[in-house]
Symmetry: C2
Subunit: 167 residues, 2 copies
């Protein structure tokens, strides 16, 4: 069963793909989608949307997970982040994927076992759990972390139980 | 030359279509896209995206205009609005439309001639300019207003000059 994790952002949107086989988690791919800096907003959103579409087409994930975001400093940055997150969510929904949303605290709890873990601890655990040769780029590592969180989640177990089979 | 105007919102996204023929503005259609209230966020965004796609397919507008939004009360509401606006922008960009973005003050200046005009004055002017039988629903009226603003704008004149012809 393949899971795509997304860490949305207006400058950089991280993605990570993992496979869950029983209790094993296997890394497939990770990376960062960076819209051209000078592009207009609409073009940047389209870049994120098409970037995620491309990855979905390449790996055909069964499930998607994305981080909930609450930590915007102000309304203006929240608006920017919201637009980028909207583009990412839309790409996942448009592909018909079931989407799990998790707070940063849920992701940290799930990956490190401690909801207030430091960023670096999360990155180290992502590396260890997925046997990565090195720590992934920050946004990509966050995307892998949310995918791992989804793989561990009861939501997913419920979805699988409902589907009546382990894809 | 057909222009689609969009007033984005997470609960209601207004749309308005007008034709500019020389200096005349003619109303084609207006309405509001309301995602099901109980739907999940991703589903709501998809509803907005598909709703706008449908309107674009029906009327094949040549240009698009959308309101810039700055007036969110807090980061949380800005995030919501941003996601909805992202979905709307993406639908316009995905259709290959050239998008004009205007502040509320620019829209009011353009429609009423006064940047601090009251909401009701804008609605009355939209009704008068487009010869509507009655004032359009609020979000739809705002969408028509931003389309009118685009029709009046120098941006559009520049785009037309560059295109070398009046479509």
């Amino acid at each position: 069963m393949r899971i795509i994790g997304i860490d949305p952002g207006s400058r950089a949107t991280g993605y990570g793909l993992i496979v869950k086989e029983g209790n094993r988690l296997i890394h497939i791919d990770n990376g960062v989608i960076r819209p051209p800096e000078k592009a207009e907003l609409a073009e940047r959103l389209l870049y994120i949307f098409c970037g995620i579409n491309k990855i979905i087409n390449e790996y055909s994930p069964h499930y998607a997970a994305i981080e909930q975001v609450f930590m915007a400093q102000n309304a203006q940055s929240a608006l920017k982040l919201g637009q980028a997150r909207g583009a990412a969510l839309l790409a996942l929904a448009n592909a018909g994927l079931n989407i799990g949303e998790y707070s940063a605290m849920q992701v940290k709890s799930s990956v490190v076992g401690y909801g207030r873990a430091a960023k670096n601890q999360v990155q180290q655990m992502v590396k260890a759990l997925l046997k990565l040769p090195e720590i992934a780029q920050e946004d990509a590592s966050d995307a892998l972390a949310v995918a791992i969180c989804h793989a561990h989640s009861t939501n997913l177990r419920k979805q699988l139980a409902e589907a009546g089979r382990n894809r």
